[in-house]
């Protein structure tokens, strides 16, 4: 009896190994320091930009080792981190705010590999350094805003048609309208029925009551919109931070994941991402005395507000304008070089502003900055409770009738003005968001993790190779060959699979796979030894050993695969990374340990007719 694989089997095995090896190749080329240029909402990266970038770098005396223009992005490669920082400085000041200039590391994959889709392993944040945020959107607030708007709409409509109502108010997810008598009730019903999409219309004639109930569909749409809007806003804010390859995506019902690789100043990142702010413009109440109000006699129709930087001010309840009409905001300087924020409104906002300021030139107008800050407590539904913190950032006298463009002065330092403008520009959030999880890994720890992981992999590997070589001799060497191939395959497959990132637990997963991958070979070799002991010829022993071991190995690996899948399903971040490496390792190790070793053993021993002894 001889052990031979048909040619096609050998070819398939060779092809698979070469294929995986090819895609593992990009990992040995390392990375270049790079600066990445992309456009914000208002900008566009064109060939002109490319020329501008090239010119700027030349003037600044920076010699790039490569400039690429692809997917509306420009990537400038330089050969040191000093050059990288210098290039960024230059480009930021040259290109201005319409472009994002981010530091990045670009894989130095040769063109031919890049052309066939080869790219190095993607490293997780724990290895690269960076910030991971999990943010929660406060849906209650979003829904409340919509209901409030509905209440106002209904009131206005009834008032316009001179229908007298006892009350129009929100109650749970509903808007409840109670009329004074059945006549008014009838006219209200005919007026409001089928008028509002997204609401179910319920009537109760005995109590002269109408209930507008939000439909399930509408509730869901509102939630989705709130998330979508927040994601858009976060994206804009991240653009402002200048991060290469940020990840911003929805997770579950009401959460958003933000990952910012390589970012250094996390405090600023958090301030800008986490702040949920909007503006309101209100008139100051100049008819009543502030001291009286502070003493507790707050006049009807007004409210006391805290001023930023201390003190209080009395403002009218009537809101001139809210932040959602703001289209743009930027920092400027007035004649005496004090910072100011220039604001542009949309046309509806411009009209409102004109109307409100027409008769009030010379009156003081206050800018109220509203932030939602988590109280640290949770509501009855287990949600994070937010506190609405209102603060007057400026009170300025209206100099003229204001239109769509105006400016706020007296906003504090240049940095304060910058932050305020940024927040305003990024838009007013419908629903406040709150960071519920943060994981920041500094660049030094990331680099150390990579080093520790590699050391562990290499050391673990060498030990296992030695052990197998000693214990199973020639067959052990075959197993070792399979083990090496397995490692290359894991790296190749992980580089190939989009979304598979290598994390620290992932590296542990690889080490573990190394230890466990030999199991299949151990099972096979032990079987072969048993068969030999039972007096079978070496060739028979090889064949039977593999045959008998197969179902055992398959069963054992499938159950491990089940646990890996479950880990992947429930795990987050780095745990997912572990599950992915484990799963990939199980599949590749089965391939190399069963088919791979068999092919080699067949080639070396399977053709010998007079084989009397096995080196096992």
């Amino acid at each position: 009896m001889l052990n031979r694989y048909p040619l096609w089997k050998n070819l398939v095995i060779m092809f698979v190994v070469l294929f995986a090896g090819l895609y593992a190749l990009p990992n040995i080329y390392g990375e270049d320091y790079a600066v990445q240029i992309s456009a914000t909402r208002s900008g566009e990266v064109t060939l002109d930009t490319l020329a501008q970038v090239e010119r700027t770098l030349e003037q600044g005396g920076i010699q790039p080792i490569g400039i690429e223009y692809e997917n509306s992005q420009i990537l400038v490669r330089v050969d040191s981190d000093d050059q990288q920082l210098a290039a960024r400085e230059l480009l930021v000041s040259e290109l201005g705010i319409n472009y994002v200039v981010a530091l990045n590391l670009a894989p130095a994959t040769p063109n031919w590999l890049d052309g066939i889709g080869g790219e190095p392993l993607k490293l997780g944040l724990d290895l690269r350094g960076g910030v991971h945020f999990l943010m929660e959107v406060d849906m209650e607030e979003a829904l409340m805003k919509i209901r409030e708007q509905m209440v106002t709409t209904v009131r206005d409509r009834l008032r316009d048609e001179r229908v007298r109502y006892r009350r129009v108010e929100e109650s749970g997810n509903d808007v409840v309208i109670e009329l004074r008598n059945s006549e008014d009730y009838q006219s209200a019903v005919s007026l409001l029925r089928n008028q509002y999409e997204g609401y179910d219309f319920r009537t109760d004639s005995s109590q002269n009551m109408i209930t507008l109930e939000m439909t399930e569909q509408y509730l869901q749409d509102t939630r989705s919109n709130a998330i979508e809007q927040n994601i858009t806003i976060l994206r804009n804010r991240v653009d402002e931070l200048g991060v290469a390859e940020p990840v911003i995506q929805r997770q579950g019902q009401d959460r958003i994941v933000v990952e910012l690789p390589g970012i250094q100043d996390t405090a600023r990142a958090k301030e800008i991402l986490g702040a949920t702010a909007t503006l309101e413009f209100r008139f100051q109440d100049t008819d009543n005395d502030l001291q009286d109000a502070i003493a507790g006699r707050v006049p009807f129709g007004s409210r006391l507000y805290d001023m930023r930087g201390g003190g209080q001010v009395l403002l009218q309840n009537r809101v001139i304008l809210t932040g959602d009409h703001i289209v743009d905001a930027s920092v400027g300087y007035d004649e005496s070089n004090r910072p100011q924020v220039n604001i542009s409104l949309d046309s509806a906002g411009g009209r409102l502003m004109t109307q409100a300021t027409r008769g009030n030139v010379g009156e003081p107008m206050a800018t109220v900055f509203i932030e939602f800050i988590a109280t640290g407590e949770t509501t009855d539904e287990g949600r994070i409770a937010f506190e609405r913190v209102e603060e007057v950032v400026s009170v300025a006298t209206i100099q003229a009738v204001l239109g769509s463009n105006f400016r706020i002065t007296g906003v504090g330092s240049a940095q304060d003005a910058q932050n305020l403008a940024l927040l305003l520009r990024a838009g007013a959030l419908i629903a406040p968001i709150q960071i519920v999880e943060e994981r920041t890994v500094g660049p030094s720890l990331g680099a150390e993790n990579v080093k520790a992981g590699l050391t562990a992999i290499v050391a673990g590997f060498v030990l296992v190779l030695l052990f197998m070589g000693i214990y199973y001799r020639a067959f052990g060497l075959v197993a070792n060959l399979a083990l090496l191939t397995n490692l290359v395959m894991i790296v190749g497959v992980m580089s190939l699979v989009p979304g598979a990132t290598l994390t620290m637990p992932g590296m542990a997963g690889i080490v573990l796979t190394v230890g466990m991958a030999v199991d299949a070979n151990v099972i096979i070799f032990e079987r072969i030894r048993e068969e030999l002991l039972e007096g079978r010829s070496p060739q028979q022993a090889i064949a039977r050993g593999y045959e008998n071991a197969f179902s055992t190995i398959a069963d054992a690996n499938i159950t491990t695969l089940i646990t890996a899948l479950i880990l992947f399903a429930v795990g987050t971040g780095s745990i997912k990374g572990f599950a992915v490496t484990l799963a990939i390792g199980i599949v590749t190790s089965m391939f190399t340990a069963i088919a791979g070793t068999r092919a080699v053993i067949n080639l070396v021993w399977g053709r010998q007719k007079r084989l009397t002894k096995l080196s096992i």
Binding site: A267, K270, G274, I373, A374, T375, G376, E377, T378, I384, E387, Q434, I435, V436, E437, E438, T440, V441, G442, S444, L445, N449, A452, G453, T455, A456, L463, V464, F467, R473, P505, V511, L512, V514, G515, M516, V518, D519, V522, I523, E526, R529, S551, T552, A556, T559, T560, I562, T563, A564, I566, L567, A569, V570, G571, S574, I575, F578, A579, L582
Partner: protein, 317 residues
Amino acid sequence: MFQITKIDENNPLRFMSINKWTTILSVVLIVLSLSALVTKGLNWGLDFTGGTLVEVGFEQPADLEELRTVLEGNEFGDAVVQNYGTQRDVLVRIPPREDAASDTIGNELLTVLRANIDGGIDVRRVEFVGPQVGEELAEAGGLAMLVALICILVYVSFRFEWRLALSAVAGLAQDVTLILGLFALLQMQVDLTILAALLAVIGYSLNDSIVVADRIRENFRKLRKNTPEEVIDISLSQTLSRTLVTSLTTLLVLLVLMFFGGQMIFGFAVALSMGVVVGTYSSVFTRSTLVLAMGISREDLMPPEVEKEGEEQDNYL
């Protein structure tokens, strides 16, 4: 041939003859683990409790006492300060707070440190987990464990037989209990990576028990004259050297991970090494004892009738 064990089918190691003692050992260990879990409880990590963790590197070895004083003087009296890995690395842990803006605690802490400590500090890691998220992670983790056990129970019953499946899962439960018991006893921190390690232990230990179960099934079909006890002894003896070799190679790499893998991986490596040891023990003793106690017999493991006909035909050929 160089081999750990050389076993003759007619003269196997008599594992089951000491099963009275191993049962007592298992019971004692489980009781100890449970009582450690009840009295000391697990030292839940940040991932599950919520809170803030900051790891900073100093230029000189850090004076922990001074750090504590500085923190206490700046409204961080609830902070736990300890060295992490080296003398220069310090880990500061702050429990979840009731007041507002808990997500900024990390930055506030860094500001305090920068203002009060001479020399530069290197921010190595900041983690903040909201209490709600922590609770969810704990729930998801428990669920994962349960789902994993059930899936395995179903798969093994389908592939083998319910007694083998049940004993496999019981062995897994023992593994998990003993590891958690050790973590409670040593008050080592249980975080997400430990959870991953526990699931990996489940995978590993199961690997072991399936190899053994496979052999038990095979031998029950092959050896018609032996008693169930003898069949199990023979199966265990035959698989023993594989069990030991695989455990050994896995332990080797885990030890490497423990010593070279860095602090973040240490707990993971400890949990897994422990898992390999108890997993090996439970697949040799616990599970076999249980299978025997549940009264397994040859008939339970014979292939279904239809296949039997095929087998006979093979014999004619």
